[in-house]
């Protein structure tokens, strides 16, 4: 067994190429504790960077180059991810589930015309895309959505309401699942659409939430309610065939259930808390000499190692072309649950100061207070802890002779292929 990410000479050369390029192209951007504070100007700079990355195939490096991706293996993709991470950014450097999730569904299920039309726009950063899944009455039971699409000539007419959508500063497209056969059987009555957001009849309204987090530079900041009032969309935008939407969604849900997280990212919060505990004295003694604080920090550390290793295992298996079954949801479940225990450890160690965002007293420029909220917010996206458990149970075959098959993924290049 070998846990090293040994880069080959070719990969090391690539690493220095990426490093040099990023030094010339990454704009000065503040590391907001709360992503909702991202300004329009900052967002514009992120989009510009995204398009520049897109031109080099580095925005979605693992996607096929014929559609605007980089055609790179997971190792090269990881190098780009690592280098962007130094700037507190990710691929893409803004919230976009078109490339992270939707493009995989289009790759697997789209017609040649649809791939040629949609994928280059997504993969080069020309457009950004939100995902529209949850509805007021459909959360964990995603297949029960009631937003409808009714065929009308060469178009469909879409009506309904989606919640927990997108981010701040708008989007050019959305992908969504809608009901196309109100009388059809469950899982065989849905369809998957790529929806231009400038169509008449679409209204976007921000939701008032505890916090909206996300992955560093790809954090979303805001979630919206999106209303569809008889929105006319061409039939061309239906991907994967009418009433086949649940299968199409299976592809991106598979990725969302634990395959999104970078395998290399250090636990920033652990580093922050350790550094802060070392620098703090209480009652005239360093905080780290308090045995209770030591216990809390060690718990934090151990939890963090397990989360890291489960994600690392998943990455290594994928890099070797091994199909994951329960592992994605297992890592995701661990990440969600340990977020809560870490938040409690931080509150224990830091006291009420962990809860304060006041500029004079806030810890780590507000990142600690945001983490207290984020740990709760993190419990539901991509499926609750309970939904992850349902997936694990089905994939392991608990109580079943037949194990559930994972959703179909686009093939990924193996290391060094």
């Amino acid at each position: 067994m070998d846990f090293d990410l040994e880069w080959t000479p070719a990969q090391l050369a690539f690493q220095s190429e990426v490093r040099t390029w990023l030094a010339d192209h990454v704009p000065e951007l503040p590391d907001h504790a709360d992503p909702a504070d991202l300004t329009a100007d900052e967002y514009a700079l992120q989009r510009k960077l995204g398009r520049e990355l897109g031109r080099k195939g580095w925005l979605y490096p693992a996607m096929p180059s014929e559609y605007g991706g980089g055609g790179l293996d997971l190792g090269m993709s990881m190098i780009i991810e690592e280098e962007l991470d130094r700037y507190h950014l990710a691929t893409p450097p803004y919230y976009d589930t078109g490339g992270r999730l939707g493009s995989a569904s289009i790759m697997v299920w789209g017609s040649d015309e649809q791939k040629t039309y949609f994928l280059p726009k997504i993969l080069t950063g020309e457009i950004r895309t939100w995902q529209l899944l949850s509805e007021p009455e459909s959360g964990s039971d995603l297949a029960s959505v009631s937003t409808s699409a009714v065929r009308d000539g060469e178009d469909y007419l879409v009506s309904g309401t989606k919640i927990f959508v997108g981010s701040n500063h708008g989007a050019e497209y959305s992908w969504m699942i809608v009901k196309t056969d109100p009388k059809g059987d469950r899982h065989k009555n849905l369809s998957w659409f790529m929806m231009p957001m400038d169509l008449p009849g679409i209204t976007v309204e921000p939701m008032d939430l505890l916090l909206v987090g996300g992955e560093r530079g790809a954090a979303s900041g805001v979630k919206n309610t999106v209303y569809f009032d008889n929105v006319r969309v061409p039939a061309f935008n239906l991907v994967g065939g009418e009433n086949n939407g649940w299968e199409v969604a299976g592809t991106h849900l598979e990725i969302e259930h634990g395959l999104l997280r970078s395998a290399v990212r250090a636990d920033e919060m652990l580093e922050r808390v350790m550094a802060d505990a070392r620098a703090t004295t209480r009652g005239g003694r360093p905080l780290t000499e308090d045995p209770d604080v030591q216990d809390a920090l060690v718990d934090f550390y151990v939890n963090s190692q397990v989360t890291r290793l489960l994600h690392f295992r998943n990455f290594a298996y994928r890099a070797h072309g091994r199909q994951l079954t329960y592992e994605g949801s297992q890592a995701y479940l661990h990440q969600k649950r340990s977020a809560l225990s870490k938040a409690r450890a931080i509150l224990e160690i830091m006291g009420p100061r962990a809860l304060v965002s006041d500029p004079e007293w806030a810890l780590a420029d507000g990142h600690i207070e945001v983490h207290q909220r984020a740990s709760i917010v993190e419990q539901h996206p991509g499926g609750t802890a309970e939904i992850q458990r349902v997936i694990i149970a089905r994939r392991l075959g608990i109580g079943r002779e037949q194990r559930e098959e994972p959703g179909q993924l686009p093939s990924t290049k193996k290391q060094g292929q």
Binding site: M1, D2, F3, D4, L5, E6, M274, A277, R278, T288, V293, Q294, D295, L297, V298, Y301, V302, Q305, V306, L309, L310, F312, R313, A316, Y317, A319, H320, Y326, Q330, L333, H334, R389, V390, I392, A393, L396, G397, I398, G399, R400, E401, Q415
Partner: protein, 371 residues
């Protein structure tokens, strides 16, 4: 980066698996545990695989394998769990001799351990229980050129099966000495301790006379040697716990599929599913912290010590809690001895404190992290 076993490791694993499935069936393990069948009847087969010499360098009659290769063996043995002095002798005592022994001690004793001719047990802890020099009260007083040992060692693994002992003692100058003694010599008496534990013994030492040459690592304090040994041995113990928990998971999964209540497999109930999922979550946490720590130790990487303490903490806790969850899945059937789950439950308790409890390893981890 490659998280697969090497071809050689896969061969090693299947060799040990064949042995286990032939000589250590569930029926045999239950009978050994109940005292209805002597372990000694199964011992020669185990010895013949050469596992006792796995960590011993080739020049001393061993295999000279890495910690990771040796862990493959122990993960497989843990699946039984296969009891007996293989760990005490082939791992713990062998590492003490490798780390601290004189050239002569190594040349004489290590080949005998590797071949199974001598079986060692290691007597460290006492009534005043703990893993550290401050817990050693057994005295070794000078008498001429000899030492006289007096004291009682407790919770010694496998002492009744041993031909030789390594005993931690306190010298008159306050330092710790590791002394090699004959398990059947004058003044030495070992007995098994009955209860909810596997292989724990009491060793009483009454006026035991040994020459000074019996001391292992005479040039440094015995705890300095033990500290280094525990860093390696506990990784092998973690692998054994990972193996044990793998078997516990397989039993739980199969039971969830085959046991029917309310006209359906019990695994259809999400409350039961949660317990099975808990087992695999404990298992994978133990597995990957252990594998990474083994790799770091073999490759002498930064953070190897922190990784070892992390693995020891997670493996001991995971085996313990994983067995609890498995009992939740199995309910009444789980406590029927012949079913075999209790072999693991008992082993998870027995190993919980061995080479340091999770609490001990957490404290050491805090030190390793510079807290």
């Amino acid at each position: 980066m490659d998280l697969n076993l090497t071809e050689q490791q896969i061969m090693l694993q299947s060799t040990i698996r064949e042995l286990r499935e032939r000589d250590f069936t569930k029926e045999a393990l239950v009978a050994i545990d109940a005292g209805d069948e002597p372990l000694s009847a199964h011992w020669p087969g185990l010895v013949s695989t050469g596992i006792l010499g796995s960590l011993i360098p080739e020049e001393y009659g061993g295999v000279g394998a890495s910690l990771a290769d040796t862990a493959v063996i122990y993960e497989e043995l843990g699946r039984g769990p296969v009891p007996g002095p293989h760990f005490s002798s082939g791992i713990f005592a062998a590492l003490i001799l490798i780390e601290g022994g004189s050239e002569e001690q190594k040349q004489v004793l290590l080949p005998a351990i590797a071949s199974g001719e001598r079986v060692f047990a290691v007597a460290i802890t006492e009534e005043n229980y703990g893993w550290g020099p401050q817990f050693t009260n057994t005295l070794a007083r000078a008498r001429g050129t000899d030492l006289i040992i007096e004291g009682t060692k407790l919770y010694v693994h496998d002492a009744t099966a041993a031909t030789d002992l390594i005993v931690a003692t306190r010298l008159e100058n306050g330092t710790t000495a590791l002394l090699h003694i004959d398990a059947h010599g004058g003044g030495v008496a070992s007995r098994s301790l009955p209860g909810f534990a596997t292989g724990l013994c009491e060793v009483s030492l009454l006026q035991v006379l040994v020459p000074r040459s019996a001391q292992i690592g005479a040039t440094e304090d015995g705890w300095a040697v033990l500290d280094r040994v525990i860093q390696k041995a506990s990784l092998i113990l973690s692998a054994y716990q990972v193996g044990g928990l793998s078997e516990v998971f397989d039993m739980s999964l199969l039971y969830s599929q085959t046991r029917r209540q309310f006209q359906q497999p019990i695994g259809r109930f999400q409350r039961v599913q949660d317990h099975v999922i808990d087992v695999i979550n404990y298992l994978d946490a133990a597995r990957w912290t252990t594998y990474e720590a083994l790799w770091k130790a073999d490759e002498s990487r930064d953070g190897a010590i922190a990784a070892m303490h992390t693995a020891a903490t997670v493996s001991s806790e995971s085996y313990y809690y994983g067995c609890n969850s498995a009992h939740d899945v199995h309910a009444g059937i789980g406590i029927v001895r012949e079913y075999g789950l209790t072999l693991h439950t008992k082993m998870s308790r027995t190993l919980y404190h061995y080479l340091g409890s999770p609490r001990y390893h957490r404290k050491r981890l805090a030190q390793a992290l510079g807290l």
